[in-house]
């Protein structure tokens, strides 16, 4: 069986090589369940939770995965 194509992307500022094909798959790979409070962006643009499964990943993409934090 041919192995899945891998892409190298930036996730929260760190390089990561992944077989994930979509943002949804990447979030699961990172250990986030669908119930986890996270918000995502791809290449500087917000990607709503409901759109992650359709958000494909390409070589060099920049991904942000954010969660609630203290703020002033």
């Amino acid at each position: 069986m041919k192995s899945m194509a891998k892409v190298t992307i930036m996730v929260n500022g760190e390089a990561r090589t992944t077989e994930a094909r979509t943002l949804d798959e990447l979030c699961r790979e990172l250990g986030h369940s669908p119930e986890t409070k996270i918000a995502t962006a791809r290449n500087g643009e917000f990607v709503p939770a409901k759109s992650r499964a359709a958000a494909s990943l390409a070589e060099g993409d920049t991904i942000e995965v954010l969660s609630p934090r203290q703020g002033g």
Binding site: N12, G13, L30, G31, H32, T36, K37, I38, A39, T40, A41, G44, E45, F46, P48, A49, E64, V65, L66, S67, P68, R69, Q70, G71, G72
Partner: protein, 264 residues
């Protein structure tokens, strides 16, 4: 302003429990933050969002704590240096915190944390058109204030001093001008407050509320300081409604002169 009826503050049509907006950052511990919030009774709690590390421990725990406090949540875009970053962050915050309120920060430089007023106006327009209720962290500049209101903001949050400096109202003249030019716009002093007296001063100047964080969180006793700020804001508001006497140059005795002994 006058009258003795309900004096609660409403922002974007939402009545608030008090005129204090309190940050959730920099406390010695989550438990001290919780007790400080209970002591301060803030109408609003500000929060942020940051990169999640691991599988979601810190962020989820903080969110559970904030939810348990039962306050109105105001996410910020702290640290964003461009309108584009702030817009994307606001959109993420709206989904994460399930609110269309956003404290909009677009920062010009890291030394002063001064608002980039050009990026701020740009982002405020985009977000307002997208349905956000924007709370812009701004300067006291009158033309910027007008642009922000034109962009769709229904309130303004001018700084007292740079974030975290505790220097108080650095430019009271400009704050008074802003108040006078926009008498019907809710104005919240945001940033640079160090002492309860600073907060009271802002309220006496007919400001509608005060947003602060560091002055409480970094006090030796944050819980007591939270209570002190709550009382100062209430005192300042009462004084504003009561009508302060104008200052005068010459002394004027408060004890009657009539009937004074040892006089002819």
């Amino acid at each position: 302003m006058n009258g003795n009826g309900n004096d609660s503050l409403s922002l974007y049509g939402e009545p608030l429990a008090s005129r204090l907006l309190l940050g959730t950052s920099l406390y010695p511990s989550p438990e001290i933050m919780r007790r400080a919030v209970e002591a301060a009774n803030p109408g609003v709690l500000t929060v942020s969002l940051r990169r999640e590390s691991g599988s979601g421990g810190a962020g989820q725990g903080f969110w559970e704590l904030v939810k348990s406090l039962g306050r109105r949540i105001l996410p910020n875009t702290a640290g964003c240096h461009t309108a584009r970053e702030a817009i994307a962050t606001a959109q993420m915050a709206r989904e994460l915190f399930e609110t269309d309120w956003v404290k909009l920060e677009v920062i010009a430089n890291d030394d002063t944390l001064q608002p980039d007023v050009f990026g701020l106006v740009e982002a405020a327009g985009v977000l307002s058109r997208d349905g956000f209720k924007v709370f812009p962290y701004c300067t006291e500049d009158l033309s910027v204030a007008g642009r922000l209101l034109g962009a769709g903001c229904q309130l303004l949050m001018p700084w007292a001093a740079p974030i975290g400096t505790a220097r108080g109202l650095m430019n009271p003249y400009a704050l008074r001008s802003l108040r006078a030019y926009f008498p019907d716009t809710p104005l919240i002093v945001d940033a640079g407050i160090g002492a309860p007296s600073h907060a009271a001063q802002a309220m006496e100047m007919e400001y509608d509320g005060v947003l602060l964080n560091t002055a409480v969180a970094k006090a030796s006793d944050p819980v007591a300081m939270a209570r002190a700020f709550a009382q100062a804001i209430e005192a300042g508001r009462l004084a504003c409604r009561a009508g302060l006497m104008p200052p005068r140059d010459m002394a004027s005795p408060s004890t009657p002169l009539a009937g004074l002994a040892f006089r002819d």
